[in-house]
Subunit: 325 residues, 2 copies
């Protein structure tokens, strides 16, 4: 029997902890080490945590590093740096910078003789795959993406920057009637406002002017002014109790036409209790693919578009054809 795939986690936030849990569900994968920039004593982890400065000592002992840092500042540095030393997987999601990031990681990975899958997860990732598939199968058609119901970190941060706000969470909610219109093949033109609602749960500071906070949120350009936004004031306790989970999801639809005038609808959807745990599960499946590609002698950066699904599975090609085709 082949030996297990040895994985390292870089960054021990929500995503890194999700990867730790996902590895436990995959018997062919084992966790070798967790790396963090924080001092190891500050980080509570079952397997112990190693300071990131020591990562180079693990060369040859780890098959794939799963990079769980953020796209704003962590990955632009760590991605290329670590791709020079290890096979890597990451969830880089700053859309506009993906081509640049790809080039940098690719150069580093080629030089180091490693394989790196960038920008995987569910969006970018599984949603991107479905956009590509649907477009290739139905070249004449219209594509729709709906996100939610889920917490948007960016919008929650925006709420918390409003004067008088102590804490807050924002849910992006797809408008079901719009989704239904797409499913029914109506091919609607949908404005921003017609696709998503924004629902805010806000903890105000004592004595704050609630009406003013509500107005400032609803009128905030880019974030809220183009949407139907609701603002609910709640207590800190209620926020902790009812709004600490990180659900998310969404739908990618393509409504196409074939032949004379036949409507063909392809839909991919996710309904997730835990966004970070799901993203982590995707990263772990792609770590398996990275390992297999590396074993077969490939090098360089790849995206989900370059990876056959067969490589994501622990099963052999024969088994897959027999059981799943």
């Amino acid at each position: 029997m082949a030996s297990n795939i040895k994985v390292g986690i870089v960054g021990y936030g929500n995503l890194g902890r999700g990867v730790e849990k996902a590895i436990k569900q995959n018997p062919d994968i084992e966790l070798s080490a967790i790396f963090s920039r924080r001092h190891p004593n500050e980080v509570a982890a079952a397997n112990g945590v190693v300071h990131i400065s020591e990562v180079e000592n693990y060369k040859g002992k780890i098959d794939v590093l799963i990079l769980c840092g953020g796209s704003a500042t962590d990955l632009p540095e760590q991605g290329p740096e670590l791709a020079a030393l290890f096979n890597t997987v990451d969830s880089f999601d700053t859309h506009a910078k993906i081509p640049d990031y790809f080039e940098q990681v690719n150069a580093a990975a080629q030089k180091g003789g490693n394989v790196s899958v960038i920008s995987t997860g569910w969006d970018p990732g599984l949603f991107s795959l479905n956009r590509l598939l649907a477009q290739a199968v139905l070249p004449e058609g219209k594509e729709y993406t709906f996100w939610g119901k889920g917490v948007s970190q960016g919008h929650s941060d925006a709420i918390r920057r409003v004067p008088g706000v102590k804490n807050g969470v924002q849910y992006t909610i797809p408008i079901e009637s719009a989704v239904e219109r797409v499913r029914n093949g109506e091919n609607p033109e949908l404005s921003t406002k017609e696709k998503h609602l924004r629902e805010c749960y806000v903890v105000a500071e004592e004595g704050a002017d609630l009406a003013k906070i509500e107005r400032e949120i609803k009128e905030m350009p880019n974030y809220f002014s183009d949407y139907l936004t609701t603002v609910n004031f709640i207590s800190e306790e209620e926020l902790k109790q009812n709004h600490s989970a990180m659900p998310h999801g969404g739908n990618v639809l393509r409504s196409g036409r074939t032949g004379e005038n036949n409507t063909q609808i392809i839909e991919f959807s996710l309904k997730l209790d835990s966004n970070p745990e799901f993203t982590a599960s995707v990263l772990v499946a792609y770590a398996r693919a990275v390992y297999k590609l590396s074993q077969s002698g490939q090098t360089g950066a790849k995206t989900v578009f370059d990876i056959p699904f067969g490589l994501l599975s622990p099963k052999s090609p024969e088994q897959l054809r027999k059981e799943l085709l």
Copy 2:
């Protein structure tokens, strides 16, 4: 600019005509010839039809043959035979025989230096891909497939074999409340009867005993006795007018668990006005992938599990990363 991909169609039934239409939606693909076992004069086709016995003369002039014959008798012969001469794509769907068929086509394609994608379409095909993906991402979970609403050819044939039946069509209908239970993360155990209904539209011969026909259909083992089946008697005209279309579709769902107890639902669904036109569109996208694989020097049989989605698209890897990731 690269020259177009030259495609030949083998078999000119519903699927073959669907491929002819799908090719028109893909500017990088052109139709070279349609091959049929029937005498060319008997077949009405815009591009003219060539007798299948002449296919060998097209070697070097056609990049990919799309095999549109049936799985019962056509493909088991044509698949290996033509894979020795051309790159091919087919929709072989006799599940139990896929491993054998793969081996035969693989041997022929290797020998001929060609690439053959077998068993693509939507099920097997896109549904298989989603089963694999969901299982790889959520190893702990339960998988559900619902089919329909759509015409089942096998069940329609079974109706037509009942004495006193002149014509008939059978729709497989997923039970929406069961689909909803899966979407809600209930992980239900669903019996055959709880997943699908069978709706029959029957044209009886004059003077036939309708009650007897209805009973014989509903009690037919394997086909109907395990299901809630409805039988509607209609006229031949009504059958032609309202039941000649070939809609289909379905849902592949996986309800998984991650971490402590988080439910994660992945769903892929299709809602198709025309089953053969959609299957044809999938075959054409895979013909593009076959061409690219062949150009890159690969040979042998492949399945959808072996093909990166990037190869399905006419766009370059750079374009895909920029536009779709």
